[in-house]
């Protein structure tokens, strides 16, 4: 067998709700797989040419093993032997250190049938139940946080993939630009191509692949979860230490006495030390160097330049451009002017000549050291991707006959929700709306269906008595030890992820 790096299960339901699409027509029960251009026609119970997709009862199914995750350390913290190639080592599942994930579990159609795996195990003498499923999410989207101050495009601008709109630029956050991607309107509300492109974009980002975007009136981006963003072919190396004002707030004392004026250039707020509260507090006199832009509060200026790829996320390449005028009443020949960007990537040192014109000069060692320190304090710029989806719909019917009780149980923290074992943030309010950091799922945890929609693993873990009380499918509970180990792949439990079978569901589990 070729190696098999993927692990999600795909369930194609189009043969049920769109019979012309997937039933071969002439041969009973034959379905056409559209996972690749070969378009294999597959008989019931057989697989296609790739051996990865099969016809399971008329449904195109990803034939990947279900992932279980095992704790790699025992209670004393010692490492438990573990097959690191992901292959099942044949040992019987030990309830105490095994968590069964939704990855590869498949789903059921229609929803009211019990979820594919409802598994009981004993943890600390309490009978726990984990309801394991792969949810098909039409209502789902991604929130991309891009650590950069570079201008990527105007707020609400369309974000495109292959020319199709797949999202938009949303509210910028501190040190980061944000995109809202995917969502039901792009998946199913537009053209077929828009839906297909959106689905592929989401799947690739969720599974840790890189995706290229263009923003109307803005930048070209290449994003990959957990990796630095690439903006207009430039890899963003680090976040700024803060806005210009914050940078002054941090470093004012370290500059004091080594320059008569410090201007921290930043696209958002440019700081001027001698006018800034921090400079006044240190007893500095205004140096009379008026920067361009709009003054906010003393020593803090907006819009000193256009956004761009120059100093501090502005379009400035010669920092003196942002100095509008030098006031002869305050400035004096010989004054030392130090200019630096908010990432420490750009810095310059000047001395005013007799005409009060700044002349470039060698930067004193101490100032160079502080420039390095600014760089050191800038964290690596990363792209983070949160998957957001609503699990409060019909998916709940696979868990219980009385779905609203599951919602209540989740909100009361009696039921813990995980996504491929990864902790999720649960939004307050109605429904079960979750967010999860895609890098915390095992590899290739996400799949898709051609509807199009994203398939994501989801697990609900709760005490067996609580499960019975909320009207759970108790007749369908299987013991963990009875799960067919031949169809499993095992993953090690990440050491920084909380073990789901513990005493305080959902508490402190948010990423």
């Amino acid at each position: 067998m070729p190696n098999n790096p993927t692990a999600h299960t795909k369930i194609d339901t189009t043969d049920i709700d769109n019979s012309s699409a997937n039933i071969g027509g002439m041969k009973e029960g034959v379905i056409t797989c559209d996972a690749c251009p070969v378009l294999c026609r597959i008989r019931p119970g057989q697989t296609g040419a790739c051996d990865r997709y099969g016809n399971m009862g008329g449904i195109l199914t990803r034939m990947d093993p279900m992932a279980v995750m095992r704790k790699v350390t025992d209670d004393s913290g010692k490492t438990v032997p573990f097959a690191d190639d992901g292959a099942w080592d044949g040992t019987v599942l030990r309830p105490a250190d095994t968590f069964i994930t939704g990855i590869g579990s498949g789903t059921t159609y229609p929803d009211y049938k019990p979820a594919p795996f409802i598994v009981a195990s004993k943890h600390r003498d309490v009978d726990m139940v984990t309801v394991v499923s792969e949810g098909i999410f039409s209502y789902c989207g991604l929130k991309a946080k891009i650590d950069t101050d570079r201008y990527i495009g105007p707020e609400t601008a369309a974000v495109r993939c292959d020319g199709e709109q797949v999202g938009h630029v949303t509210t910028a956050e501190y040190g980061s630009q944000m995109l809202a991607l995917g969502g039901v309107r792009h998946l199913t509300g537009g053209s077929k191509k828009e839906g297909t492109v959106t689905c592929r974009m989401m799947l690739n980002l969720c599974n840790g692949e890189s995706v290229e975007f263009t923003i109307d009136g803005g930048a070209t981006l290449t994003l990959q979860a957990g990796k630095p963003p690439i903006i207009d072919d430039l890899k963003e190396e680090r976040m700024r230490v803060g806005c210009g004002s914050a940078t002054i707030g941090i470093f004012a004392k370290q500059w004091h006495g080594h320059a008569d004026e410090v201007i921290v250039v930043d696209d958002h707020i440019t700081g001027v030390l001698s006018e800034h509260q921090a400079g006044r507090f240190l007893g500095m006199e205004p140096a009379g160097m008026r920067v361009r832009g709009r003054r906010s509060t003393p020593g803090r200026y907006f819009q000193v330049a256009e956004p761009g790829n120059g100093w501090g996320g502005t379009d400035v390449t010669d920092p003196l451009e942002i100095i509008d005028r030098i006031d002869a009443k305050k400035a004096q020949p010989g004054m030392r002017l130090f200019m630096v960007s908010t990432t420490g990537e750009d810095a310059a040192y000047f001395v005013l000549n007799d005409d009060l014109k700044p002349e470039p000069a060698d930067m004193p060692e101490h100032l160079a050291m502080v420039v390095d320190r600014i760089g050191e304090n800038c964290e690596p710029a990363l792209t983070s991707i949160l998957f957001m989806a609503g699990a409060g719909g019909s998916l709940r019917a696979g868990v219980t006959e009385n779905p609203v009780r599951l919602t209540h149980s989740v909100h009361q923290s009696l039921t813990q929700v995980t996504c491929g074992g990864a902790p999720v943030f649960i939004w307050p309010g109605g429904g079960i709306t979750i967010m999860v950091d895609v890098t915390r799922l095992p590899a290739n945890g996400f799949g898709y269906v051609p509807t199009p929609a994203i398939v994501a693993p989801i697990e609900f873990t709760l005490r067996q008595d609580d499960y019975a009380a909320l009207g759970g499918h108790t007749d369908s509970i299987r013991q963990l030890e009875d799960i067919d180990a031949d169809r499993l792949r095992q993953e090690s439990w990440p050491s920084d992820t909380r073990w789901p079978y513990s005493d305080h569901p959902n508490e402190g589990s948010n990423p």
């Binding site: 070729p2 190696n3 070969v38 057989q46 040419a49």
Partner: protein
């Protein structure tokens, strides 16, 4: 939605993984880092669209080679037909060489203009090699596909003419007309090795009630084997049947060797092995 190719470095950071539909390649190059990176990007570029071009001519490629008169245009497809044509006296379609031809195509693309010491492209066991002076390639031979274990190694030196390795058997990825557990072939190209392994494995056969067969199209629709009987199960055979089946395979392999189509072959059936060409070529290397 039809998925596009997946192109990624494996977690070891050294090998490249190219996957699209039924094609699954593991690629590795050895040399200077910059040359490896350039080679990988050439391989990836070549891989993009490769499956689609094959699919475009799929109907032709599923025809028996002796009936195929239409000109084939796709570069991979041309390697397939070239490898298969010398075997036109038996039933065989260009699809018998598809895995090897893909491996040959990608290895050719990645070494073009590059300075690599050696490289390989492994397409699910069908392997295309690139060697330079002084380099060799050691392949572990897995003779039972069902219970993989390295049973021997074959070291292929630069000075040999071998640049392709392929393995076929009824339990493997593709359907087989024969009952061989495995047939491993070393040849000049992976495509040549691929078709030869397929045909030798088809020839390893005997009539026996312990062998269960079914029409190929009952198992896989759109298969190039149509309604020919393919092996579905082989239970325990007696010694004479094993020897007879292996002999039939060996006869076919010898004929191919005589025509210069293969260099070496190893045939395995229920614990019995026949090899030839390994000893002469590889001297002290012991196979199985």
């Amino acid at each position: 939605m039809s998925g596009g190719p997946q192109i990624a470095l494996l977690p070891d950071g050294r090998r490249l993984h190219l996957h699209h539909g039924p094609i699954d390649l593991i690629v590795e190059a050895f040399g200077a880092k910059s040359e490896i990176e350039a080679a990988y990007s050439q391989a990836a570029r070549r891989f993009d669209g490769l499956l689609q071009r094959l699919v475009d001519e799929l109907d032709l490629l599923r025809m028996p080679i002796h009936e195929l008169s239409t000109e084939i245009v796709g570069p991979v497809a041309r390697r397939m037909t070239a490898a298969v044509r010398p075997h036109a006296s038996v039933f065989v379609t260009p699809m018998a060489a598809v895995a090897g031809a893909v491996a040959d195509t990608v290895v050719a693309a990645m070494i073009d203009g590059r300075d690599l010491r050696r490289a390989y492209v492994n397409n699910g066991g069908d392997i295309a090699l690139h060697l330079t002076d002084g380099e060799s390639f050691t392949a572990g031979l897995v003779l039972e596909i069902d219970a993989p274990a390295i049973e021997g190694t074959a070291t292929i030196p630069y000075l040999s003419s071998i640049r392709g390795i392929a393995t076929s058997g009824w339990q493997g990825h593709s359907l087989s007309l024969g009952i061989a557990d495995s047939v491993t072939v070393l040849a000049h190209t992976a495509a040549q090795a691929d078709v030869a392994a397929t045909l030798i494995a088809n020839a390893v056969d005997v009539n026996h009630p312990a062998i269960h067969r079914a029409p190929a199209n009952a198992i896989e629709l759109d298969n190039d084997l149509d309604d020919r009987l393919v092996t579905v199960d082989v239970r325990e055979l007696d010694g004479l049947s094993i020897a007879t089946a292996l002999h039939r395979g060996e006869t076919v392999a010898n004929a191919m060797w005589a025509k210069g189509l293969i260099v070496s072959a190893a045939l395995k059936l229920q614990g019995k092995t026949r090899t030839f060409g390994f000893d002469a070529l590889l001297g002290h290397q012991k196979v199985a």
